[in-house]
């Protein structure tokens, strides 16, 4: 345990030092994207690992991004206030959608369908209110003429890298905090048998709402950070069904049940998207989604614990001398 903590601290120190040693802006850009999306995927997996498969997270991410940007452009509200407000908005929506679902036992495929509608609705709202949001053409937060810190706008990649790193580490800490809490056992129990969980004294609706709320708040934060970093958002990049599917894909491919799984998923998805973009250019627009779809089916069938999950399991098995041998 101590060795792992030491390794974690050493790894974190190396990650913090990286941008001061290595300054290639393109590579740093890719790293920032990986960190932000890793955080988004981790946020999804926090509830996804308990069988609460949501296709609505694109919606939460979109709310995080758009609410923050709109408040800044129209009301001049600093993202430092805008981001918490956008998170609150996403959280409120999560409760409004989650409560009836959990109260009336909408689970499994039906829950997936309800959340799918949620992503679709957020996408439609963004497109329909194009006078404010720019619709499908996308939206740009106004450049600040004052303090970059107040506007959360920074030109250099190193600052963004460190912000994204902090958020990513925060996401992992929350993952571990939940993993070690009693709620984790409760949620595992709920995902197996809701009646039996209730008979153990668990307030099933409240536990599910709690985890959904945490997940939605984090996902909205991911959307807001993405918006501040890219200074450009479009509905198909931060909201909608495609983004939701991408989250499911990355979390499952990386490994749902291990903390670094979604990070591995982010590395794979972003490298895949970049390779397609550079290799095939505009001809390959949308190909990544096609590849995701095919891979997702293959993973669910052949490697349900994901790449990292399966690797770690293999290492564990090798370490333990097998009794049958």
């Amino acid at each position: 345990m101590k060795g792992r903590l030491a390794a974690g601290i050493a790894g974190l120190a190396a990650l913090i030092a990286l941008p001061f040693v290595y300054r290639d802006p393109y590579h740093l850009h890719i790293l920032v994207l990986i960190l932000i999306w890793s955080f988004a995927y981790t946020s999804w997996s926090i509830m996804g690992r308990f069988g609460l498969v949501s296709l609505g997270h694109g919606g939460f991410m979109g709310i995080g991004a758009y609410v923050t940007a709109l408040l800044w452009n129209h009301l001049g509200l600093s993202p430092w206030i805008g981001i918490p407000l956008s998170m609150a908005a996403a959280g409120a929506l999560a409760l409004v959608v989650g409560y009836p679902c959990f109260r009336f036992r909408i689970t499994g495929h039906y829950f997936v369908l309800v959340t799918l509608a949620l992503s679709g609705i957020v996408l439609q709202v963004v497109t329909a209110t194009r006078d404010y949001t720019g619709g499908s053409l996308g939206y740009t937060p106004n450049r600040t003429r004052g303090s970059g810190l107040l506007a959360l706008q920074f030109d250099d990649k190193t600052t963004w890298y460190l912000i994204a790193l902090a958020v990513w580490v925060g996401g992992l800490l929350i993952w571990h905090w939940i993993d070690r809490s009693m709620s984790r056992y409760a949620l595992e129990a709920i995902s197996e048998d809701e009646d039996a969980a209730a008979a153990a004294g668990i307030n099933v609706t409240a536990e599910k709402l709690k985890i959904t709320l945490i997940s939605a708040l984090m996902t909205a934060l991911a959307g807001a950070i993405y918006c501040q970093y890219q200074m450009f958002i479009a509905p198909d990049v931060v909201s909608g069904i495609a983004v939701s599917l991408q989250m499911v894909f990355a979390a499952i491919v990386g490994g749902l049940y291990v903390s670094f799984g979604p990070t591995v998923g982010a590395i794979i998805t972003i490298l895949l998207a970049e390779t397609l973009r550079i290799g095939f250019g505009t001809q390959a627009v949308g190909w990544d989604n096609l590849v995701y779809g095919v891979l997702l089916v293959l993973f669910i069938i052949f490697l349900p614990k994901g790449i990292l999950g399966s690797l770690l399991e293999r290492v564990k098995l090798q370490r333990k001398p097998s009794p049958a041998a």
Partner: protein, 255 residues
């Protein structure tokens, strides 16, 4: 400690439970018997909050609990087991029981929950090994685990749902003795639903018999076993058991 008045449960036009009233005293073991479909499990599910009664009242410790959510009823002190054990297979045995200890007793402390889990496992006679999995348990073991989960919630009243189904003779006797020990040592009041009359009659203080959702008989085991209405209900399907139980009850009453 429990007062049930005019309990009714309708599923569409079908009355699964029709105007049933009964009470349970502190420290008593009440047997609840009846043929399949007589409404035993439906009554249990209403007592534990899984089903909401169509009409009637359930007063536990002076409070109306009819229609409360299951977790609230557990927190008031009514624990239950399921007819078919429902363990959480992704958790270890110990985690199964500790979970019930934590949430069943109002989420106080994890250390307390783990203590409750150890006590409950010891009570039912399962090892308190923290890493043992559920998969290693047979039918009798799963019943014990189910009982340990219910005990860990710290009940004042335990609803034991057909806890002997699928066990052999010796295991049945042991399980029946365990229920009695739970009452004697822990002072927990028990309502025990069972198909198998023989063993039940030996342990319970009082029996209530249901048929087609209605109470047809209630009283001491010896009296109920001799009740012509009860014999009629069980005759043909279970006559021998009924007679054996009656003999057993008479022997017990005499000795």
């Amino acid at each position: 400690m429990l007062e049930v008045r005019g309990l009714v449960k309708r599923f569409g036009g079908f009355r699964a439970v029709n105007n049933v009233s009964f009470s349970v005293d502190q420290g008593e073991i009440l047997g609840l018997i009846g043929p399949n479909g007589s409404g035993k499990s439906t009554i249990f599910n209403m007592l534990s909050g899984t089903l909401t009664p169509t009409a009637g009242s359930i007063v536990f410790d002076g409070h109306e609990i009819a229609g409360l959510a299951p977790h609230r009823i557990i927190n008031r002190g009514i624990g239950r087991t399921f007819q078919i054990p429902r363990p959480f297979r992704r958790l270890s045995r110990f985690e199964n029981v500790a979970l019930a200890g934590f949430y069943g007793q109002g989420r106080h402390s994890r250390a307390k929950a783990e203590e409750a889990a150890e006590r409950a496992l010891a009570m039912v006679g399962l090892p308190t090994d923290r890493r043992a999995t559920v998969d290693g348990l047979g039918a009798a073991g799963l019943k014990k685990l189910e009982l340990a989960k219910a005990l860990a919630t710290g009940p004042k009243l335990l609803l034991a749902d057909e806890s002997l189904g699928g066990l052999d003779e010796t295991e049945m006797e042991q399980a029946a003795d365990m229920l009695r020990r739970i009452r004697d040592d822990l002072g927990i009041t028990i309502i025990w639903v069972e198909h198998i009359m023989g063993v039940l009659m030996r342990v319970v203080d009082r029996v209530m018999v249901l048929d087609h959702g209605e109470k047809i008989s209630e009283g001491l085991p010896s009296a109920v076993a001799a009740d012509p209405r009860v014999i009629e209900v069980y005759l043909g399907t279970d006559a021998e058991t009924t007679q054996a139980a009656a003999a057993e009850a008479r022997r017990r009453a005499g000795g």
